[in-house]
Subunit: 336 residues, 4 copies
């Protein structure tokens, strides 16, 4: 049994990770930590765990942690994460980090978008971007995985085949996405107060969302050249899911009839990416680790639709998919 | 034109009152106030007022207020309200107070349920409970109206005919109600954070809700004797509305065939109370000042269903209905 | 591996059962059937199964079924079910029937509430009511289980300890409940059309809901005497869950301090019933096979709150719990 | 008083029109019609009208209509509408038609997208497109207004200033929009069944939505040249509102600092178009006749966000705005 510590267990990705590990046949929870103010018995912190998780969520004690876990799912926010990750690695754990701290290889871009100095550039350099469908080989056995952002997961899986095949212009991609509200995290705010958010939908992060450079970096790695993405997120009145609609300019002539086949081939061995024949509803992937994708063309443009659950394929599920890969387990364990 | 000041304009009942007065043919907004931190141009405080309300929401200045308004809709929370109401009255305004401070005539009960000393018992004694369907005559021309709570409005209109006719036992009434989330006010909290409240429904205030003694007091006034009500509120995932289901034990034999007729007669002259032939959906009254009622009998019990919009008939609409009565206007003005 | 056939796989309880069996370590799907018009590849009928269930949903062929399955989860509606169940039994399968056809032992009551003649009274007599927490011993190894209705599951688990101990009057129980809309099934109708049901909540089935006699029968079995229940259902704008609020009159003096202890003792060995310290939110049990219960007293009455997921503990999850019991498996398999 | 007939009063735009006319100080309802199967007392057809609209909805009788109304709000679906409109005109009424039948001037495009032969090309030629902010002068006093589609209203108001000033390339406009479910009309269907649509969001009408050629025609009229628009609609889990996000390629150098000013100037005299400083939430315009617009630039592109209520500014409210213009009333009457 893989022994799993969840660092930052009191948030939405924390409890989602707990739920998945509880169903995982070859992994077990051994340590749950949070800020002191958010500690307590797991069943009291999360009513849905009542009778299912007889563990304390406690302040992190590195000495205790060392002998207790093989892997840390680090669900901390950016900036906080890079303070803890080096110590988790020193304690001999594999680390799957949910924050953005180890995703952006260009420190300058990181510091511009996250408005904080990067304090762990050594580990940054060796972290692997944990999108298994694109980087599976690099993930195997690695110590530190930077678990992808939710929006980049949906957008990159939507366009990776086009980028790999060089079929689209890389200076004019538009990613329009709508997320459910769980993407905003658990902290109450006026915007996400139920009577304000319910029956509402709005764009945000205009020109400034932190997932934009992340998408561009990974897309650039896939193509081997600079990629420009205009990413515009919106939030809508539902809990889970991201629906991405990606508009691309084909490069030269594209044989549209071959588009579906290209995607079928590209993802033929991928359990968690499924090619649909119409735009996927977010509800079809809610509660699952799947990404549904539908590529098509409209008026000379290639338009790709994708849907994921932001908390699962966009966070905790993908982290455990990465954990399975790192430890040589069957990749789908616990994610069925 | 009646000149209206809204005290505490930055909350949900404040903006609801603003919206109603904007449509009122014989009343106009002349002064909007709030706590300093919540002041600003009305259009900036409430995006929905953009282009519709070119006024500042500003800190309350009693000197300024005196010459500026005929009536104050006082949308402050309990305890705060009783500090302001005496001064509003001194400034020569009619006052319609949305808080509970002038509703409970028994100071001891007030102090027990609201856990604060009552500091304005003089005005408390002369305040009229502003449920027009039961106390219209007393409201006419009065200086101070205690605008009813949202739950009591729905529950009392449901059972007033039974109480008036002495048809039910008064020691065993059960009021089971479900409110929309706007009833919880505008301040963000973990419970009402969208991802927590969405797809959720739960009971709260078990045995302790402050509207319970309010219902009992008014029901007692209507019957002339002590009334015991077990009131159990719930909150559900919608913005507006209260659905009340009231279970009553008939006193002696009741001719059930006459029940609907009794209600039709009792409310025959009331524009805002409509008798339905089936349980009223809350959506039918959302956005209106109406209360829909359906009385029936099940297994020897009388069960009455009522629905109101908690922010309108349960707050701002009823306040303006009271304002219309006080000033001798047509009662339905602005509420069509 | 237990081989499972799902009869009526194209509805909400059908797909919920599919999802649970897909995660079940000792059971496998071998046959999925539906009406011809609703057949097709499972992935096409239910988008969420894409890549997860490479099976056809096909018209039921009893010859084919016979050698293919050990147990049938019969997700058909009432009346249809009693035409199929005898044949499923004849084919040598264990049957867990989701309909009401085998729940009501009194044929007269069945025929009155379901307005149809009962055509399989022989099997009716030997069917066991599948509420494991009350009838586990009778379920073991039985051929035919009548899987309980969703409302009765939530209500009976809420009051069983009181009934067993004879602590409440049995002629005045009021069960007030609110269900999510999935309880209404998958067939579109005006009432449940999104723009009509969204932001709405209403009572229905006043005095006539078919789960009322079911509750009364089982409550009567538990107490050994006649029980009268006034059951009033409501439907609210959410997918899953039933919140029940049960009002009871204590018989003689009740030591309220002992109430929680009584429930803790009664359900001490039950994994799927958890005693809470406050009213359980339906969201805490959504997606699980759990029933959360909170007993308390208010103004001399005992009030019990319970929450279940109507599609899981109220249908498919409970069916698989029953399946586990019948076949001697660990009761919680597939339901973690 | 303008006497108003509503033809097709039993749908969502019908009842929305009824509600607006009920509040209109210089118009009154005189005739409500629907298909026989949907007739009845207005209060029975729409529970929210109880006590507010003591009229029958009855099958249309042209003889009766002739002397009874000055204007018809024709809320019929396309194809049906063009059968009725000529007769309504013959009966001497002004007609505001909600369908698409009189919007597309190019009969060939109409027949391709609506898959039906146009049978009233004579009136088609003289109908005026009822978007007052662009065509106010033409609307004054006209007999027949083609009331715009909901999506075109939101999209065209978003980009009209750019088109008029020739600031953008007209061959690469992308309109990405999300509508609330009321846009799908009142007829129940599996897609919009509450448990299917709730917590869901998906794209539809890919490359084929009928509002695409409508947008292109009007945009073409504004610019005087051919305009190509890639319009991609989505539907999300809320009742009302359309959020449009429009991506445009600037033509040559654009002084982005002047963008907001351009919009402020263009719409300076328009009550119902308001320029925001951030992307407008749909909830800010729900229940109103307003369109909120926010133009900005992102990575060299111009991106414009707009929000309207699809049933009001996108249908009934705009119709009554047109009615006010036709009859020389104050344009905002009834729409405050």
């Amino acid at each position: 049994m893989i022994r799993v510590a969840i660092i930052g267990a009191s948030g939405y990705t924390g409890v989602e990770s707990i739920e998945i590990i509880l169903r995982h046949p070859e992994a077990e929870l051994t340590y749950l930590t949070a800020l002191e103010a958010e500690c307590g018995h797991a069943e009291d912190v999360f009513g849905q765990l009542k009778g299912r998780c007889d563990m304390e969520i406690e302040p992190l004690d590195f000495d205790k942690l060392a002998g207790l876990a093989d892997v840390a799912l680090c669900c901390l926010p950016h900036k906080v994460s890079m303070e803890f990750v080096p110590k988790l690695l020193d304690a001999g754990l594999k680390v799957i980090d949910f924050s953005a701290d180890y995703r952006l290889k260009d420190v300058e871009i990181y510091e511009k978008f996250y408005e904080v100095k990067h304090t762990d550039t050594a580990n940054l350099a060796r972290a692997v971007y944990g999108l298994p469908e694109l980087f599976r080989e690099q993930i195997k056995g690695v110590d530190l995985v930077a678990n992808p952002g939710c929006y980049p997961t949906g957008a990159l899986l939507a366009i990776a085949p086009l980028l790999k095949e060089g079929l689209i212009e890389t200076d004019s991609i538009v990613v329009n996405a709508v997320t459910g509200v769980s993407g905003a995290g658990k902290n109450p705010s006026s915007k996400f107060h139920f009577p304000n958010m319910n029956e509402n939908l709005f764009a945000y992060g205009i020109g400034s969302h932190r997932h934009m450079p992340e998408m561009e970096q990974i897309a650039g790695e896939v193509t081997g050249s600079n990629v420009q993405i205009l990413f515009q997120p919106h939030v809508g009145p539902f809990d889970r899911g991201i629906a991405s609609t990606v508009y691309c300019q084909p490069k030269g002539k594209v044989d549209f009839a071959k588009l579906a086949g290209l995607y079928e081939d590209f993802y033929c061995c991928e359990q968690f990416v499924q090619i649909r024949k119409d735009a996927p509803p977010v509800k079809d992937v809610a509660g699952t680790n799947y990404c549904h994708v539908f590529p098509t063309c409209v008026k000379g443009r290639i338009v790709v639709f994708s849907a994921i659950d932001n908390l699962i394929k966009g966070a905790s599920g993908q982290a455990i998919q990465n954990m399975n890969i790192i430890f040589g387990l069957k990749e789908t364990l616990g994610l069925g």
